[in-house]
């Protein structure tokens, strides 16, 4: 789609943003817009029909300043005279910035004919490389017909009966009236606003204005995923609430203590980027990530060394760590007892001691390049301890900075509890809720729903007609970020504007406009509001040119909010004095289970519950879809007397929840991790809508989530329930039969190859040695010169496409999975079909556990079509529907495919997906279509089909499909190259969807026949290997083996065994570790035999790094 080259010529061609004024040159359109858009609201009494949608599209096209419609016969008002520079069907990108789920994104939106289609990172933005699942899936959210729009296609509704409705103009009067009357009523003493944490300067500016007018009004803030602990800790340490900003790119040693910095964290994108910058063992020094956690998170999976510890012991752990570091810094001997046991085979107590020992040495020896991050799960005291530790390490203010919360200008910010207390006491008569669905997410001991029932006028501005909307008197449809004007400030302080890509499809309004409307000022349109804010921040008025430049680039060097990092204000901090204890599995008590609440990988706190892509997203560790579960280690499950797939009851006081058990090895004893956000009863046809009989997805854990246990609940009682529950996971879980489990473990070493840094130093090409010995593809040159390719290539100038995936950088965040789904029109299939192994993801992230069940390591590997040079799928297709292109892409001709499925059987990677039903039409993008019996409502659901990428065929039933290396992007680049006089395609000109989405740049794509291309360099890396290359399939996608920077004394048995092999080059054949035949010829380049590692564990004498 979008080409993102950086040459001046290309930059001139790719204007990301086109001025709205272009529209105004065309008076016909202005008239059309005025006539069609507001009036039509009364023309169509029910919902959005297809016809109606096309009309909206017509209007939107005009507003978006795009081209005509692709299909003229369906356009209400085609361009008679096409405006200059608009080419129908041409993809163009525009910059925007927005916030979702507490994360700030700097993005480019690819649009065709005024229709936003794909989220890409704004690579020119100083902060922006990569995206995540939420931003990628926001595209589907845009076209979600379940978003709030009101039954009567009115803009507002009143009360539960939804009887009254009004349009935005009427609300303008009502809203302004509310503020006005509050103003006269004791300065707004009975007025309150509830917001979510936001960085938007415009929203905060408007709230400040409101506060000015209503000095006694309450502004409350509530975050469903925590925030209170950080707030309390920073208030204590710095005197005011502050935000943590990490600079992981500068860190050599990173210690994450129950902090999911590479997962759920709000700063995920910058953390991931910073972390991955030092994960290349060949070029530059590797950083080291220590993780101490109770559950298992994405961060733990990416760690170099990980300790499973109960959260209740972590404050003591921090204290002990601080004491040891202090002693060592004070010059105490660095000697420590030698021990050769492998880390994963020690007793829990030994393991804790060893980990503390190694970690404290590592920290004490650091020179300001080590940082400790403590998660909010552990509470304010622990976070404060982390700050103190960083101060001790010299990391505070550099690696870990604290900047004032952007809303600190608003003065006193109340909490949800304060708000509820005030409402309960009858001191509130007006409450304005700005998004967030607090009725669903509030802790169970804060009866928010009852409280707002006591408020006379409640106004909710939200994207969905959700639980909160139902409880409020007025509910207003909030525009989607892609339809909105708004702004953000990212953690580097760059100001960014959120500009609309399309007119609001369902009549919503952006938050800034609604706030301005309530304030009743003169400036009511979003663009002007945001521009005012931008001017305020830049300190000068912006010329039209500067303003447009800001919109075009998505940021401006001159417009930054760079607050000074805060300095510690309180005097010394006392660490916890107790020594940490490590519980063994025998000591698990049924009444003392610790539950960690984490935001769901896909649906966050439930706000994305109606997004099919996110519901069907395989969750990072479990690969579970459409459900949440109680994650616990197999030994914990055994102690509770439950098994994988059986229900467990978790009880706190009188409240309890029942959840299915999902066994995940490597979690701390007696710790359960559950995802919040499931169990929505008013999400929509995808996420559950009780009133329409649509099943609720997952289990709501709110009952046991109280305000003192928003993130971690201690002393929870766990009881077995002997009923079974069917979960739909996309990968076989741990609890398969022993034979399969053993085989999985023994095989995974050759599939996902990894090694310790010690192994890498000794033998950089260990990956090749770990696999079966076969001639490497391209060893004699590039793939382009391989026999089969050369026979087929008549045009030698054509590039030979290939991909490289660096497993050292991959953190398994799934952004690529959703990006692929979005780019390639991959349907969702629903829970039942996932349970039937019929999910359609072209790209999946495989994960394997290794090692002991109590202390397992996780390896992850993104797997898509390998585009084998000698593809096994091609020769078995009887109708030649899957064939090789001259450029080495294993292509699918969908319209030739008759669906024998032989190709999928013969594909050793099982990356082919078959359309068992008409997924795209019947479920897919319109999932749940049957829930709406009326044809007009059915037709509404077709709205979602507009998310489909017109460059990619929508596959029907009975057809095989799979990754195409984004062939549409390849073709686009070829066309561009041809237009430029047949030049060669430059390296980096084709960026696949997965590659573009990746926040850690783990994926490279390009011409493998060009030795200077990045992908060729990656293929030439010592760590490169092809999966299952022993089958002589010659995969075009190669992996770069993962290198764990594990300290020598924390090496696991598997790592020690690998290292030992180097010392025993000619180990005899024997033992039962069956590996593929050893070929003596190819063993020449590494003098060892890696195949039969069976040393006794005490043999492993390992030199200390």
């Amino acid at each position: 789609m979008s080409s993102q080259d950086s040459t001046p010529a290309a930059a001139a061609r790719n204007r990301y943003w086109r001025s709205l004024s272009e529209l105004h040159q065309c008076s016909d359109f202005k008239q059309f817009l005025d006539r069609e858009f507001p009036v039509a609201a009364s023309e169509f009494p029910e919902g959005v029909s297809r016809r109606r949608w096309i009309q909206l599209m017509g209007a939107s096209l005009a507003v978006a300043g795009a081209t005509g419609c692709r299909y003229p016969e369906e356009t209400i008002a085609p361009f008679v005279l096409r405006p200059e520079g608009r080419i129908p069907g041409e993809t163009y990108s525009r910059a925007t910035n927005f916030e979702l789920a507490g994360r700030v994104y700097n993005l480019l939106i690819s649009c065709v004919d005024g229709r936003p289609l794909k989220v890409e990172p704004n690579t020119q933005h100083p902060a922006g490389v990569g995206t995540d699942v939420y931003s990628q899936a926001s595209m589907l959210g845009l076209y979600d017909p379940d978003r709030a729009h009101g039954r009567e296609f009115a803009l507002l509704r009143r009360g539960n009966g939804r009887a009254e409705s009004m349009d935005w103009a009427a609300f303008g009067n009502l809203g302004a009236g509310l503020v006005k009357s509050a103003e006269s009523n004791d300065g707004g003493a009975k007025f309150a606003v509830l917001i979510e944490p936001t960085s938007s300067p415009s929203i905060l500016r408007l709230l400040a204005e409101l506060k000015k007018r209503l000095p006694k009004a309450m502004i409350a803030k509530y975050s469903s995923v925590g925030g209170d602990a950080m707030r309390a800790a920073t208030e204590q340490a710095f005197g005011k609430p502050a935000k943590q900003v990490l600079d992981l790119a500068a860190a050599q040693t990173i210690v994450a203590i129950q902090a999911d910095i590479l997962g759920a964290d709000g700063e995920f994108l910058s953390n991931a980027r910073g972390f991955a910058q030092h994960r290349d063992p060949v070029h530059g020094k590797m950083n080291r990530l220590y993780v101490v956690e109770g559950g298992y998170t994405a961060t733990g999976a990416s760690s170099d060394s990980r300790l499973a510890l109960r959260p209740s012991e972590m404050p003591a752990f921090l204290g002990e760590l601080a004491r040891r570091v202090e002693k060592l810094q004070g010059g105490e001997s660095h000697e420590h007892a030698d021990g050769n046991e492998s880390f994963d085979e020690m007793s829990p107590a030994e393991r804790l001691e060893r980990f503390l020992d190694v970690l404290s040495h590592d920290l004490a020896e650091s020179k300001g390049d080590a940082v400790v991050v403590v998660g909010e799960h552990l509470g304010a005291e622990a976070i404060r301890a982390g700050i103190a530790l960083n101060q001790m390490l010299g990391a505070l203010g550099s690696l870990q900075k604290f900047i004032p919360e952007p809303d600190s200008e608003l003065g006193e910010i109340a909490s949800l509890v304060d708000l509820v207390e005030k409402a309960d006491s009858g001191e509130l008569d007006t409450l304005f809720i700005l998004g967030g669905n607090p009725v669903f997410t509030a802790p169970s001991d804060v009866n928010f729903k009852a409280a707002i029932g006591k408020v006379e006028t409640t106004v909710y501005l939200g994207e969905y007609d959700d639980e909160t909307a139902a409880a409020c008197v007025w509910s207003l449809p909030l525009a989607h970020p892609l339809e909105s004007w708004g702004d953000v400030v990212d953690s580097n302080g760059f100001y960014g504007v959120c500009q609309p890509q399309i007119m609001p499809l369902l009549g919503g309004r952006p938050a800034v406009e609604v706030l301005a409307m309530m304030l009743g000022g003169n400036v009511l349109d979003g663009e002007s509001i945001v521009r005012l804010t931008a001017e305020k921040i830049s300190g000068a008025s912006l010329s039209e040119r500067e303003w447009r430049q800001l919109l075009h680039d998505g940021y401006s060097e001159g417009i930054q909010v760079a607050p000074e990092p805060l300095a510690i204000q309180d005097s010394g901090f006392e660490f916890v004095k107790d020594a940490p204890k490590s519980l063994s599995f025998q000591e698990i008590s049924l009444d003392d289970v610790e539950v960690l609440f984490v935001p769901a990988d896909g649906i966050y706190d439930g706000r994305f519950a109606n997004n099919g892509w996110l519901q069907e997203l395989p969750q990072a560790l479990t690969k579970l879809t459409w459900d949440n579960a109680a994650l616990m280690s197999p030994r914990t499950a055994a102690a509770i007397d439950v098994k994988h797939g059986l229900m467990v009851a978790l009880r706190r006081g009188d409240a309890f929840v029942e959840l299915p058990v999902f066994e995940i090895p490597g979690m701390a004893p007696g710790v359960v991790q559950v995802a919040i956000g499931y169990g929505r009863s008013r999400a929509g046809v995808v996420g559950g809508l009780e009133q329409d009989g649509i099943a609720v997805v997952g289990t709501n854990v709110a009952p046991i989530r109280t305000r003192d246990a928003m993130l971690t609940a201690y002393n929870v009682e766990a009881r077995p329930r002997y009923s079974e529950y069917a979960m739909a996971a996309t990968q076989d879980h741990w609890a398969i039969d022993e034979r399969g489990q053993n085989e999985t473990e023994s095989r995974s070493f050759t599939l996902v190859r990894e090694g310790s840094i010690a192994l890498f130093d000794k033998m950089p090409n260990f990956a090749e040695a770990k696999g079966p010995h076969v001639p490497k593809v391209g060893r004699e040159g590039s793939l382009g010169k391989e026999p089969i390719a050369s026979i087929e290539i008549e045009q030698p100038f054509l590039p030979q496409w290939g991909m490289a995936v660096d497993l050292s950088k991959c953190i398994g965040c799934n952004a690529c999975v959703v990006a692929c789904q979005s780019e390639n029109n991959v349907p969702i299939v629903g829970k039942e079909q996932v349970a039937n192994s019929r999910e359609m993801h072209w790209l999946r992230v495989d994960r394997y556990f290794q090692g002991d069940a109590d202390n397992a390591d996780v390896v992850q590997q993104p797997v898509a079509c390998m585009h084998c040079e000698t593809a096994p799928c091609e020769q078995v297709c009887p109708v030649a529907a899957t064939v090789h292109t001259p450029e080495g892409i294993n292509a699918m001709a969908y319209n030739r495919c008759i669906g024998t499925r032989y190709c999928a059987n013969n594909c050793p990677f099982k990356v082919r997906r078959f359309n068992y039903f008409n997924f795209n039409g019947d479920v897919g993008v319109g999932y749940g279509i049957d829930a709406y019996p009326k044809s007009i409502e059915n037709a509404n659901r077709k709205l979602q089909a507009l998310v489909l990428n017109p460059d990619v065929t929508v596959r029907g039933r009975g057809v095989m499909e799979k990754c195409t290396y984004c062939v549409q992007r390849v073709e686009h680049a070829k066309i561009e190259a041809r237009k430029d006089g047949g030049r060669a395609i430059r390296d980096g000109e084709v960026i696949t969807a997965c590659q573009s989405a990746c926040p850690t740049r783990a994926i490279e794509f390009g011409n493998v026949a060009d030795p200077s291309s990045k992908v060729s360099q990656q293929h030439a890396d010592a760590r490169a290997y092809g999966m299952l290359e022993q089958l002589n399939v010659k995969p075009r996608t190669e992996y770069l083996a993962r290198v764990r920077n594990t300290p020598a004394r924390l090496m696991t048995r598997a790592q020690l065994v690998d290292l030992l092999e180097l010392k025993a080059p000619h180990h005899g054949h024997g033992g039962d570790h069956h590996e593929t035949h050893h070929d003596d010829h190819s063993a020449a380049d590494h003098a060892h035999d890696p195949e039969h590692p069976h040393p006794e564990k005490n043999e492993a004498a390992v030199s200390k790094r």
Binding site: C877, P878, Y902, N918, G958
Partner: protein, 468 residues
């Protein structure tokens, strides 16, 4: 005309220098004609009517299921990733296997001048045709877009301007099965012409006469007709004989040519052919033993016939057992990890029950036929034959499903379980098969009267010879 009756009804005893009689009792040319023709001429028995109604209902249900499949999509089956081929292919291979006995009996035994084939070859051939019909149904409906299944055929297409992909074993399969079906049909029909003429001549009804008249192609029984018939029959037999071996060989290529562990083995062609003959003979026996009682054909389909077939089952069953053992040996001997796992997983993995059902039915049960008592007692023969049929269905299940369910990437492993449509189609295909077979029994000469009479003539001649 006198008849030699040796040893009463027991013609299973071998006497040195003496050829065991194949037609028993006081059979004459006339009684042979009578006993065969009366099946078609008398009103149908109650058993036939009940049987037909049940079968036809099941066959109709099969049709309904196919309609449902076409309407909804392939997802109505239990097929899933990684088991992209499930019961439909299991059923296909099963039915193709069944379809082997007929042509083997009529062509190969004809070439080897095994006269005992004459009483059973007609029904066996009919069974072959019907089994091939059932088999042919599955691959056709199995593809995702069944309405385009004709793209498998190599026809000069003007709009596509392309041929099928000749490297694919599936395409070879199309050729193999269609050739086999065609040749078997021709062979069966041609062999029936003299008997159809007999039916025509005995018809008392105008419509019957007309129908049989058309079918019998103006057969008059002249020596010229006989001469040409014999030549053509021998030629077709020679033509059909290699097909018996080729068709299942090629079916086995569907698996052997792929690289799925558990499929990718060179033993498949001979092992599949032996298995096919094994299952085919078992099916012939399953049908023939009850039919011979129902239609009172004990004198023509004698115990000796049954015993001979049991011996074939014993031989081929032992070959199949040997093949199972060899597979395991090669998997170990080859030391390819994926292959080794495929086989241990087959026997001890989640599908162990299917594997051991297969071994019990296919390897152990036919060994009972070493005992003469078992291979001469009709009800035991039927019982063991049914076991063999079950076992052979499971063999295909084991090969197709267990191999696919766990191949190279553990992340993609899965477990197959059938749906109601899978069950319905398996049962429904039996319904179709029995419907066709019952119709055949009712309207066609179930025994090759002409050849049996020739056998009888030989028998008389030999007996006379003995007298001298």
């Amino acid at each position: 005309m006198s008849l030699a009756i040796v040893n009463g009804l027991d013609n299973t005893v071998e006497r040195p220098g003496e050829r065991a009689p194949l037609v028993l009792g006081d059979s004459t040319y006339h009684t042979i004609t009578e006993s065969v023709c009366k099946i078609a001429e008398n009103p149908p028995s109650k058993a036939w009517i009940i049987g037909f109604l049940v079968s036809a209902t099941l066959a109709s249900w099969f049709g309904v299921c196919i309609a449902w499949l076409f309407y909804t999509g392939v997802g109505v089956w239990g097929n899933r990733s990684p088991v992209f081929w499930g019961w439909p292919i299991v059923n296909f291979v099963f039915w193709v296997g069944i379809g082997h006995a007929g042509t083997l009996i009529s062509a190969i035994l004809f070439i080897f001048r095994q006269d005992w084939r004459t009483s059973i070859n007609r029904a066996a051939e009919a069974m072959t045709i019907f089994a091939v019909v059932c088999a042919g149904t599955f691959p056709g409906i199995h593809v995702g877009r069944a309405w385009l299944a004709f793209w498998l055929a190599p026809y000069p297409s003007l709009n596509l301007w392309m041929w099928p992909q000749f490297r694919s074993p599936l395409l070879w399969d199309v050729f193999a099965v269609s050739t086999y079906g065609t040749v078997s049909l021709l062979f069966w029909y041609m062999g029936m012409v003299p008997d159809l003429a007999t039916f025509r001549d005995r018809s008392k009804n105008k419509w019957r006469r007309m129908a049989y008249g058309i079918l019998s192609l103006g057969w008059s029984g002249s020596s010229r007709h006989w001469m040409r018939y014999e030549k053509a029959y021998a030629l077709l037999a020679a033509f059909a004989a290699p097909l018996v071996l080729s068709v299942h060989t090629i079916v086995s290529f569907d698996f052997a040519v792929s690289q799925v562990p558990g499929w990718h083995t060179t033993i498949f062609p001979p092992y599949f052919v032996a298995g096919a003959i094994f299952s085919g003979f078992a099916m012939v026996l399953t049908l023939m033993v009850p039919a011979r009682t129902i239609f009172s054909l004990e004198k023509l389909i004698t115990i000796r016939h049954l015993e001979n077939m049991c011996k074939v089952i014993l031989a081929t069953g032992s070959i199949v057992g040997l093949a199972y053992g060899t597979e395991f040996f090669i998997a170990w001997y080859g030391q390819v990890p994926a292959e080794m796992f495929a086989f241990t997983n087959r026997a001890f993995g989640p599908y162990w029950w299917a594997y051991w059902t297969m071994v019990t039915c296919n390897v152990i049960s036919p060994q009972l036929f070493w005992v003469k008592k078992f291979r001469t007692t009709p009800w035991i023969i039927v019982l063991i034959s049914i076991f063999v049929n079950i076992g052979m269905w499971f063999e295909r299940f084991v090969i197709v499903v267990t191999s696919l369910s766990r191949d190279y990437l553990p992340s993609a492993w899965g477990y197959f379980s059938p749906t109601w449509v899978d069950w319905s189609m398996l049962v429904g295909s039996f319904g179709l098969f029995f419907t066709l077979f019952l119709l055949f029994c009712r309207f066609m000469p179930v025994i090759n009267m002409a050849e049996v009479k020739a056998t009888l003539a030989q028998q008389i001649h030999m007996t006379h010879g003995d007298d001298h």
